[in-house]
Symmetry: D2
Subunit: 417 residues, 4 copies
């Protein structure tokens, strides 16, 4: 491993918890170069909802590359892009009666967020944005300014301004009315709050500790935004593409965000791709006012279109995700009850699940114990105190059980010390 | 084309000048879905230095995908990443005696720039950055703040601060000593210039109008930075990977930037990838202080390693690039002389070449005339007044001549009107 | 009055409610040029705690001017400044065992606030400041950024950053624990709140609507600041110099702010003067790092020293202020009870008193009715809904009663319409 | 002096060079408490153009105070303010055919500057301001952001943004065309310069080292601003009220600034007062959108009106100022010639004069030598390398000669060491 240590910056992190060199991958499994298999309950931080190297998508990808389909196309018109747009329209937007236009903002989730923030400010003529406690939206300067984590914010080296944090759902354990403080500040012309251009929100905070907002909280937020003429940006980068069950994580809340950010699993195959969906009336940028080199990555369009048609033409995946999610949830509930003195908390929705420990130290030990037993999981939350599960949605029930067994053993091993 | 117009945001731009739907590509050629071939002298805005779907890289890519090599790997250790690091070390860094550490900052050039800016501010404890007139560094908030174009800046919707523009090389046509104003401001404790953390510079400004800085200017800038303890960030996103001849565009100047940003052609195949090279002593971030989903795109590592070994183990590509560049330059010189009243200016270095017209309108007409004749070229410069050539470095001499012929005809057609 | 309308900017405001030309003043009375007397319950917005042209101070002032005492002295040593410092030390600081150093920050309250903010940021190396809903700290850019009123903020023309508003005492009518949100944001490393350099607070928000914080809230705030290493800046510009009874408005809370801003009544005679008191360990500025033309206004030092010795060598003024304040409070309470359907609220402490109406329109009518009856009062609060009383502390009991009688009549006249 | 050292912040500065305690003052003389007289060639940093305790103004002031004229009046209509406005209109504005409205922005020069910057941003909807190298405009956050001195800027504790410095007149000793860089940046849409709301400029930079702009430079700047729709703010705080000869320092240039800031000598007696003059079409603030406690300091209005009528009803003062200025200039020229190896430079216009030495150390020694001989002078410039003369305009010719004699002796004493 010496070349990694010699040549790669110390900023690398995942490799520290999983000190092996991975080579191949298939479905829910990653294999190190010595052939050992690891059950992957992290799935590229949510970028691999359809599993590693999904064979349906792989076939489409190899076919496309083999026939010399355009690979790199900026924002030119291509057959691959047209096919993706058609698939998006037919399988996702039309069935849900959603009217949105598509921005290709650049290759990653942070690009989707930066585009949304820029456009919201341009449309409203205001600068300020409301974010939420423990939000995570990315590492570029605009996205970082609406991110909560103080260590990551400290990396910026300049004061991050133009964003004001509000309490996320149940930040005070439900003891206080939702949005009380937020709405009071908006209504009080003497509050000192700069009038916001937009609110940016995740339905389940993945990096923030698998905090799942209640549907009524999301509905309340949406209504508040409408009442006050504030744009609602829904960052569905990690929770979209079926992670919580439905394609969009906010569907069950019945809300209509003004902008929606998608990335991670949108390409289906783990290739970089992002889109920002915007209400048609917000489409005010001039040609080229936002651009970038990697906005027309055709191989990603190909696997994205294939994934949409394969998995979103019916509700089979949604149902199975919910079922598997409930299976995880019930095992986590058992763990909570088995170790009352450990004060565990089971969190999450769909296949975004978390098990909160009393400290990052304990949660880290559980992940390390699981790694020793061949399972990949990560921690999240402000102090890394939550063990986070984001298995591929295509993980089989047997694999889910296998992983949960390892988790139970690992928790036992750590807590009985 | 209706779905593009219905569903895609009006911000799309290249598709407006080239209103056809592209399907396949090979080498220097793009093919529309009706089978018509277009000679591509734009090459993904510099992302396709080795041509579309380069067969050597294509083979490595399909092999890797076929054998289920890991596709998405965050910043885990992988065989693919190790191979890329080894190729980078062996073909590029060691032969040049360059000591740098590698940050994988995210999938695009803007990520490489954002990482460099963040780290420079963190290291120095200062906020201000010096950029240059007509610079282009990206569209995320940090990168945009050091970009010159006012239309693109206006897209941000907030005042872009912490950057001060200085005149790029020959901004005043050589009438004034280089860095006179810059250095005076630095030395005068009453100048009002915030002490800069870093200078960010391109050796040839691609988007800015193919402005090629003289080597002595780059040397002067490097010395100025050293004298004043300012970090020098070299944005080689567009001009690196051999665009001007040598692998790094600054090699002939003999300077040693503190940070180097690479993207576009680093993967070789047009797949999103970026790296930020930093001097070892700047490696101060804690693990995870900068992160992101798309930092370990193994297929890109595979084609990147293959490209480095194929094209940079000897100096053949460098020599051929220079030769073809001189060929373009001599034809441009002829055009300048043929149309004295048109006040054309030939610009550029290596295979980054520009032909400046008196207005963006004329330059746009030339590109349109070329498109009608089957050649793809774009304009650049503050008013789009420069016809910009960035052909693949692997374009054959015959193709170069074919393209130059079309350009000559197009210029004639437009100017004789 | 035509020259005012022709030559003075439309930004003038008090003159609109009191459209007469004032000429002379004495004690609690202002006289228009036609000789009509107005009982002044506004007292220069708190700048005239000892009444207009207080005869004791007037004598000292005329003596000083007559003997050609230095008038303007920058920050030179002068006999007048020495005398002020001695009076401050003997009558105020020593009796209260307060150890502070004195900055002369410029002539007005905003200068005192700007100096405190600048120094707090310099000392801590942090940029962010916590202010409170409905705070008012001044109109220069630094002071304005921590001020709540949206109309005044809008005057800046740039986004005001680096400040985050927190709820002032009883912002939610006591239904929620104090500092719950504030402290949670501080303790949660993922909250997204920039670590604050300082908290700036008024004990009674004058401009904000005569909101008087409870002593236990101030104590809680002070303890919170200590726990988190945040500097506490007490803006006593309007409420200091005895307005609420004791010399400093925070004395009864028993807290020790890190910085204290005084202005308005510190000179005693209505002459511009301000000081910022800082804990000795915060005295880190180099000579001249903060300066200004009007920091040594000797006539103001002369009246300031005289005022301190005359009014603060014993507790007579403090007692009489409290007694008069209670008299005002009991009459306000009667008004609240007399008009239950008007939903009046009596507010304030000492001789900073307010009567809140349901709208700014009604409150404005009450002030207008009072003006017609020869009494000067102003409104405050985010919508101007609070009639604000800041009579001179030297107003006689008979004058207090006379004014209260006019107020009762005015309220009756307006509410019975 | 112990109480100063014990109680006053270390930020005090003038007192360090003049370690005596001043008591009385008259005309051009300050007297320490032991009765020693000092000839004052600093005159309150330009706040005492009519001398200390000018007897004409003193009489008016004592009369006003004695008859209980209103002292403190916020922005109410008063007889004193009306009289000042009439005097300003009759003696200054009408004779010069100047149409401006008057803002009373607060008590000091920084308030006048803050008001101008805020209003310029509000009117134009832009945030950026152009300032000049070695500018000084004040110490509040807005004014400080357009000030050059790095030590003073460092006092802010936050990055000062929204201002870009341009070279002041002859910053490069006249070797390059004026405004070349500035105008090129404005015209080039790719320059990266944020479109400016305003330019703020001094005609002679007092704190910056007595740099006197040529009239044609000021004219060029005014025309540039007109061409580009940028507001021109003329900061005449130190150089106005006759310091360079005419009432406004820009009169001889024949330009019409959009806003003019006056303070320091406007009250005539050293009392705090400031005004911002604005073109009528810029009068867009709502009532109260900018306010403050010390905007209606009637004693200052009284002395200001008296000063205008006494000194500006004819051109006697202007002529005498120029004559005395030339006297100073010719002596300085002699010194330059007497000590060729010392590389002295004589600077300035009217009675704003400077003698530049090769270092701040030498200039400081000259001031110290002068102090020992009974003359008060200060240094200015980025490194304190300029001995600065701002004597009262009412200094007699004999006193001018007496002071110049001391200067010559002091220079000799220092240089011959």
């Amino acid at each position: 491993m010496s070349i990694f240590e010699t040549l790669e910056s110390e900023v690398r992190s995942y490799s520290r918890g999983w000190p092996v060199v991975f080579d191949r991958a298939q479905g829910s499994w990653l294999y190190s170069e010595d052939g050992k298999g690891y059950l992957d309950f992290f799935a590229g931080a949510g970028a691999l909802n359809y599993g590693h190297n999904n064979p349906v998508l792989k076939k489409a990808l190899i076919d496309y590359i083999s026939r010399d389909g355009v690979t790199h196309a900026l924002d030119m018109y291509t057959v691959a892009k047209r096919d993706f747009l058609e698939a998006l329209s037919e399988t996702i937007l039309k069935p849900r009666s959603m009217e949105y236009k598509v921005i290709f903002p650049g290759p990653g989730g942070a690009n989707a967020v930066e585009a949304a923030l820029k456009l919201a400010r341009k449309v409203t003529g205001r600068e300020s944005v409301i974010n939420f406690t423990n939000a995570f939206h990315g590492m570029t300067l605009g996205a970082l300014s609406v991110t909560g984590n103080s260590m990551k914010r400290g990396g910026a080296g300049i004061p991050l301004v133009h964003a004001t944090p509000m309490p996320y759902d149940r930040y005070f354990d439900g003891a206080y009315p939702d949005f009380l403080y937020f709405e009071r500040l908006l209504e009080d012309s003497g509050s000192g709050l700069n009038e916001p251009a937009a609110v940016i929100v995740e339905t389940v905070q993945g990096e923030g500790g698998i905090n799942a907002a209640r549907l009524e909280w999301l509905q309340g937020l949406s209504e508040l935004c409408k009442r006050h003429g504030i744009l609602l940006i829904l960052d569905d980068v990690q929770m979209g593409c079926g992670r919580t069950g439905p394609f969009f994580s906010f569907e069950e809340a019945g809300i209509e965000p003004d902008m929606i950010c998608l990335s991670k699993s949108i390409s289906g195959y783990g290739l970089p791709m992002a889109i920002t969906l915007i209400k048609p009336e917000l489409d005010v940028w001039s040609p080229g006012e936002h651009n970038g080199t990697f906005r027309g990555i055709s191989p990603a369009f190909v696997t994205a279109a294939e994934a949409l048609r394969t998995y979103w033409s019916d509700d089979a995946l949604e149902k199975s995700t919910k079922a598997k999610g409930e299976r995880v949830g019930s095992v986590f509930k058992e763990l909570v009850e088995t170790y009352p003195s450990a004060e565990l908390v089971a969190k999450g929705r769909g296949l975004a699940r978390g098990l909160e420990f009393t400290s990052g130290e304990v949660a880290g030990k559980v992940c390390a114990a699981a790694f020793d037993r061949g399972l990949l999981m990560e921690t999240s939350g402000p102090d890394g105190e939550v063990v986070k599960l984001l298995p591929s949605l295509t993980t089989t029930e047997a694999e889910v059980d296998q992983g949960l067994e390892i988790i139970s053993e690992s928790v036992k091993a750590v807590l009985s010390h």
